[in-house]
Amino acid sequence: MRYKMRKMNWQKTRENLIKIFFEFSGIISIAVLAGIFIFLAFTGMQAFKEISFAQFFLEKEWNPTSYGNPQWGILAMLAGTAYISLGALIIAVPVGIATAIYLAEIASPFMRETLKPIIEMIAAIPSVVLGLFGLIFLAPIVSALFNINSGLNALSTSILVAIMTLPTIVSISEDIIREVPREYKEAAFAMGATRWEVIKKVVIPVSSSGIFASVMLGLGRAIGETMLVLMVAGNARAFPGSFLDPVRPLTANIAIEIKEVVSGDLHYQALFATGLILFAITFVINLASDIIIHKQLKKLKP
């Protein structure tokens, strides 16, 4: 009897300990996230004591080291980020969604089991390797194709970043599409819809918000991508006029300049401000997509 009591107590304690452990881990992740944010915000916001918001966001010139007349406009680099991430999406969205539909609705189980892991493995390629591939392989092709001096530009980078975002888009879209209940598809088939009509009129509309969220997550990845863009984007500070121009996205700029700055000076603070903006953008994108995906899954599982 006593033994049993003790045993039960121990079990209870153990359960409590496990619970505390998980709660603790959860709290730690939140704390780390908040910590990074505060750290970024604390240093970054100090930049705005001397640089006005208008100057920072609306001016095209970024030249912190110019003697006597430093310039702090990030617009050209924002444009660089926008070119690369939108360019990547223009390529990755049609390819990614078509692949997801193929995997979920058309491929035989064998093809799906083979292809999906392969696509997901793209995510495991270190971006420095893709960067090398871009430098040695893709950039020369792009420069030859368009008859330009260098293929290190927004186009080459978009293509490579598109490859990096594909696993996110394909994998999440495919999961969502596979959650579309069989009952809906059967109803459409029984009305005389062809397989393609079922996809177009039932599967895609029903899973559209989840597919949209997967694209947003891909966008988040594209915006945050650094090593690859550092290697392939060309890194010119000028405002890009077309996809064939070299660009310097925000991420690359931080990576390039952080080595040259004096800790604590205005340039240092301005780079942190840039980091803060990147963090805010990707945080909002990820949070929004997460919410959309959860809503979608709840809708599909009544």
């Binding site: 809906y184 005389g192 039932v202 509309p205 809708k299």
Partner: protein, 252 residues
């Protein structure tokens, strides 16, 4: 005997190596209601899903024998399956409206067959919602999501969706098993109203329902058609001992 719209000849069906339907032959009378009864797992659903070739969607399914729809063999290579399914519609056990508006649900078939004219669609949607007695209940807001309707309303919406495709035959697989008695009564009334336009084949576990609604009844047991005839005869003077045992509730 009235004219037959469907004729089944020596139908056998396997899933993988398991034989599910065994040498079935039966004729389905046009403009009548035929019910299929039998214990769980005897192949009722599988049988009606062969009539519109929905079993094509199951890769392990293999079929021998013939089924004639309006004297054309539905398994012959020249048959357009989508066209067959348009003629032979199906209502499922669990109401399965699309998670779209009421309007879009009813308009699904007409749109699928190429109707684009908004006025025409409006009048079709109204016509078929009226036909299933749903119009008065939903006319205020046709843009409401169909999933916000009650189960019984959803099932009537599904029937409207099928009717809007103007089928000649409507297959109903236990359409009332998830519904309350009032909703069930509404659907039974509806079946009587539409049977002059569409021939109905209904699977049911509810013996009273079969007796109430149908003119012909087939009794299935372990993949065999044990007895088939006028509903009245099946329920009052079954020829087969097994049928009698089943309808009197002695097994099943």
């Amino acid at each position: 005997m009235p004219k037959n719209i469907i004729k089944v000849e020596n139908l056998n069906l396997w899933f993988k190596n398991k034989k599910i339907l065994k040498d079935m032959s039966m004729e389905i009378a046009e403009h009548e209601i035929t019910s299929i009864i039998g214990p769980s797992g005897c192949g009722k659903s599988t049988f009606i899903r062969t009539l519109n070739r929905m079993n094509d969607l199951i890769p392990t399914c293999r079929i021998t024998g013939n089924i004639f729809y309006e004297n054309k063999n539905i398994f012959s290579p020249g048959i357009d399956v989508t066209n067959l399914r348009r003629r032979v519609g199906q209502v499922f056990q669990k109401p399965n409206p699309f998670p779209k508006s009421i309007f879009e649900n009813v308009a699904f078939g007409p749109r699928l067959y190429g109707e684009k004219n908004k006025n025409k669609l409006n009048s079709l949607v109204k016509k078929y919602l009226e036909r299933v007695g749903l119009w008065e209940e939903v006319k205020e807001n046709l843009n409401r999501n169909a999933l916000s309707l009650s189960g019984g309303q959803q099932q009537r919406l599904c029937i409207a969706r099928v009717l809007a495709a103007e089928p000649k035959v409507m297959l109903m697989d236990e359409p009332c098993s998830a519904l309350d008695p009032i909703s069930t009564a509404k659907i039974e009334d509806l079946m009587q109203k539409i049977k002059n336009d569409v021939t109905i084949v209904i699977v049911t576990h509810n013996m009273q329902q079969a007796a109430r609604v149908s003119q012909f009844t087939g009794f299935f047991l372990m993949g065999e058609l044990i007895e088939y005839g006028k509903t009245n005869d099946i329920f009052t003077k079954p020829r087969c001992k097994k049928t009698e045992d089943y309808i009197t509730g002695r097994f099943g």
